[in-house]
């Protein structure tokens, strides 16, 4: 599938999706409440993007952006970046851990590092940080009292 074919296919299923081709791979931007349905479309036939190789979040100060890097195990040349903006004050997004099991751990990491709440996640607990840790360390407004680099 070429990028143009992918774009037509996605527009047919999610008309509100926008595209960005400036990067190395085709980037799809979608509103956070439509993310789950688009993710299911990408996971299913004929796209079959069954390999979620990177899931992370980026803090742009005004908002947070969830970033999903997807590829297909049968054709690793297709790489798609799926993005959804969530607001910083009350970030909520639907989980994708039922589509890609690897998301279960990755979303737990994003949950504790950025404070993003994943709806319908099977086991949303802290994975790396201690229970009594306050704040979301990977957010831009987090400042560690003991910053080893700025010392």
């Amino acid at each position: 599938m070429t990028n143009e074919e992918i774009k037509t296919y996605i527009t047919a299923h999610a008309s509100e999706a926008t595209f960005d081709e400036t990067g190395e791979w085709l980037t799809i931007l979608i509103e956070s409440n439509h993310l789950k349905s688009l993710a299911a479309v990408l996971r299913g036939q004929p796209m079959q993007l069954d390999f979620l190789f990177c899931l992370t979040c980026v803090d742009f100060k005004t908002h947070l952006t969830m970033v999903y890097h997807l590829t297909s195990s049968s054709n690793r040349n297709i790489n798609i970046v799926l993005k959804a903006n969530v607001n910083s004050a009350d970030p909520i997004i639907e989980t994708v851990s039922d589509l890609w099991r690897t998301a279960e751990f990755l979303e737990r990491e994003v949950f504790e590092m950025f404070g993003v709440d994943f709806l319908h996640h099977p086991d949303l607990r802290r994975l790396i940080l201690e229970e009594d840790f306050k704040g979301f360390p990977l957010r831009k407004d987090f400042d560690d009292p003991i910053n080893m680099i700025k010392l």
Binding site: R76, E104, I128, L138
Partner: protein, 378 residues
């Protein structure tokens, strides 16, 4: 003498269905690092495994946001410390891709040789440690004999035995040691003679086979769904070698086979690593006499600045696919950096494949996943 232990028979200590919760780690000889597993048992059968991470979490991703594009490479050597060359390569390649820096041919070839030597060293250590976890002590010494030769080569050329920090954006930090080629050839010669010893000691061992065959079976679908990469996924028949999919450095001009096994059990994962070492030797043999003369580092600006945008670079480490994702705002430091570490995804599958097996098999299952804890915690 044993009357005191009978207190365990008291049902109040056990969970609702006679469950027993055992803490494995963070100080456990077989986890080779500070991994803490909370294992729920029913008798000897594993019902659930919950990994508790963070004992060696240094928040490398946050640290890198304050470091320049020349500095952040040194931190990545401390992630997967057994593949530090390959981690450095990933970061250097990303900066080179972002800034369109030409890398001299000499640097490309040397990088590829060093990456493959690192892979062999990592697999050697794994084989020794894995056999030791299963009760065989001797293979450890055999494996370290050859690994020592590699660390000596690294020490000559890079000045360090573990955290090399030798690969920088643009090429190499300095030129290779004059004895580099002779020493690598001596290593290749010795390794080819001695690799049969591992096979005799471990592969054909009846005890080793009965402890690993059919243990911790991972299907191809699950390997893909859990994001497994590297030898773990290839043992389940998933083609995922980044060196083939997206060749970098000199991998596009060498011939090697992507090792695939289909059984998906612990023994298959062992076989993939043994065969991979032979493929690495094949790559080194093709390149060691072909190191071109010339510069070892390309021309770069003093201050590196990545253009505004997003960059992703993936490489194949000894454990699987390492991804570096950088969001740049055009400054000298990254706005956000994410390391997609292979160990993290490989660990997430542990609960799934060990469930229902006996606790004695957990060592074999966990050992063959080849977990490096600093790589998981970052």
């Amino acid at each position: 003498m044993y009357t005191e232990t009978e207190i365990i028979k008291d049902n109040t200590d056990l969970g609702p269905d006679g469950e027993l919760v055992v803490n494995m780690g963070p100080q456990h000889p077989a986890t080779h690092g500070v991994l803490h597993l909370v294992v729920t048992l029913n008798g000897e059968t594993i019902k659930k495994i919950e990994p508790h991470l963070g004992y060696i979490h240094r928040s490398i991703e946050k640290m890198c946001e304050s470091l320049t594009y020349r500095q952040f490479i040194y931190v990545t050597s401390r992630m997967d410390y057994l593949s530090s060359h390959i981690n450095n390569t990933a970061c250097a390649l990303l900066v080179e891709k972002g800034m369109q820096i030409e890398v001299p041919e000499r640097a490309k070839v040397v990088r590829t040789i060093l990456n493959e030597l690192t892979r062999i060293a990592s697999h050697e250590l794994w084989i020794g440690a894995m056999a030791m976890d299963l009760g065989a002590f001797t293979p450890f010494f055999y494996a370290f004999r050859e690994r020592e030769m590699i660390t000596d080569i690294m020490e000559d050329t890079c000045g360090a035995r573990l955290t090399m920090n030798y690969i920088v954006p643009g090429g190499l930090m300095y030129d290779i040691h004059p004895d580099f080629q002779t020493k690598v050839k001596a290593f290749v010669k010795q390794f080819k003679e001695k690799v049969t010893e591992y096979e005799d000691l471990v592969t054909g061992n009846v005890i080793f086979q009965s402890r690993t065959k059919g243990v911790g079976v991972l299907t191809a679908e699950d390997a893909i769904s859990y994001g497994c990469t590297g030898p773990v996924a290839r043992a389940s028949g998933v083609r995922c070698d980044i060196r083939k999919i997206d060749p970098y450095d000199a991998y596009d001009r060498v011939e090697f086979d992507e090792v695939i096994e289909t059984a998906g059990d612990s023994f298959a994962r062992y076989m993939v690593r043994v065969k991979e070492m032979n493929q690495s030797i094949r790559i080194i043999e093709q390149l060691i006499d072909q190191i071109p003369e010339g510069d070892f580092v390309g021309k770069t600006k003093n201050v590196l600045k990545l253009a505004k945008g997003e960059f992703y670079q993936r490489v194949e480490t000894a454990r699987g696919e390492l991804g570096v994702y950088i969001v740049s705002e055009g400054a000298t430091t990254p706005h956000r950096i994410k390391f997609r570490s292979p160990g993290f995804s490989n660990l997430s599958v542990l609960d799934h494949i060990a469930k229902g097996s006996k606790i004695g098999d957990l060592m074999a299952t966990m050992g063959t996943l080849d977990l490096v804890i600093p790589d998981i915690d970052r």
